[in-house]
Symmetry: C2
Subunit: 202 residues, 2 copies
DNA sequence: AACTATGTGTACGCTGTGTCCATATAACCA
DNA sequence: TGGTTATATGGACACAGCGTACACATAGTT
């Protein structure tokens, strides 16, 4: 189980001495992302990242303040953010599509495990938590709120809705199943979430 | 910052040799719970638990398979489960009360930090994850589903609701704010969650 | 009184962290 | 072209925590 080739496809290490900073940074980030996808946060150590990048630990400590920060950077390097949020004018369809896409990302790729472990790590790493909010959850929440607000303006939803709370009831519900895992995270579940909210329970 | 007295209120250690198993187990669990509330998962180590319990690390390794398992046991020892779920016949009031109580538990006591860190740890500790599901989230989810089912039988809610998904949209939404923390977890938020779902968004 | 189960103290090796040095060399500037 | 500076490198260090092993002490049981 060693699919990670040290220094993949780069010019071989030249021994001691300085290398271009950007190149080193790029190799470290790639190595971090690959290691994250391959082994998850459990096997993610500064030492391993340094080894796979053919770099020295000192360099990593110099550029990243914490293990979590490096992991998050590595994650974004490998998994493109893809923050697009289609707005076709049909809020129910848009929400459903977005949620279903999220469910597939989380279930059918390694990203789900990585996300959950990043969130897990963030519970004891304030810097990582802040970085995660700022770079990941924040922008995504903003896009969803924006879409909901437009739907309210179009009259597809009540105008007095607290759209932030709706985000928690859609994506938060998915994260709940992802993180606790007592029930499966399925496409049907995603559709049911939208249906419950839009139609109401009674 | 050393509020934890070693071996609080127990007969003093008697040096080497065997002590009653039940007594040792009880002292370890108490120490684990107190340490957890005082320092959170970050400062929770087997060594510290052993020190505060006046016990040897070996003993802990003998009885608990992992650090997470010990933490969970310690948590339940100090924070009583309190799984009661009032059923007054008014489903909206019952859900709201239950959610508001949860919000207060999580915000106004140290339990919130501990819960979030236990969930966080569970992301890389399968044994802890299983124990958490079995002993904490599972029973709580079952009680909520049961209450929802009764309300459906009484005709207060539609009969074709998937009550499991509703649980995720109420408690899961709270956990979302607890774990991500980009928006505050307030009593109003809890009320809004119930309102959104019951009335529907349009 | 003997036996067994179990807690205790101590020591060891392992992994990972975070920090320090001296050295080498790329990038920059005169 | 040559000197200066920034930065990457290897290596070493101390520290913490985990998990294990062994010998010894003693409570519970027969």
């Amino acid at each position: 189980m060693a699919p990670l080739t040290p220094n993949p496809g780069m010019s071989p290490r030249r021994g001691r001495g300085r290398r271009p900073a950007d190149q080193v940074r790029a190799e470290i980030l790639t190595a971090a992302g690959e290691l994250l996808l391959a082994e998850g946060m459990a096997g993610f150590t500064i030492e391993k990242v340094a080894a796979h990048a053919g770099a020295s630990r000192m360099t990593i400590y110099k550029w990243w303040p914490s293990k979590g920060a490096l992991a998050l950077d590595g994650y974004f390097t490998v998994v493109a953010p893809t923050l697009a949020f289609a707005d076709t004018g049909d809020i129910v369809a848009d929400l459903t599509n977005q949620l279903v896409a999220f469910v597939h990302l989380v279930r059918d790729t390694t990203a789900g495990r990585v996300i959950s472990q990043l969130i897990g790590q963030a519970q004891t790493d304030p810097e990582l938590a802040a970085a995660y909010r700022e770079r990941y959850s924040g922008p995504r929440r903003a896009l969803a709120v924006e879409t909901l607000t437009r739907a309210m303006a179009r009259g597809q939803l009540r105008a007095d809705i607290d759209s932030e709370s709706v985000v928690d009831q859609l994506w938060g519900a998915c994260y709940h199943r992802l993180l606790i895992g007592d029930l499966p995270l399925t496409e049907d579940f995603a559709r049911t979430l939208v249906d419950n909210l839009v139609r109401g329970l009674r």
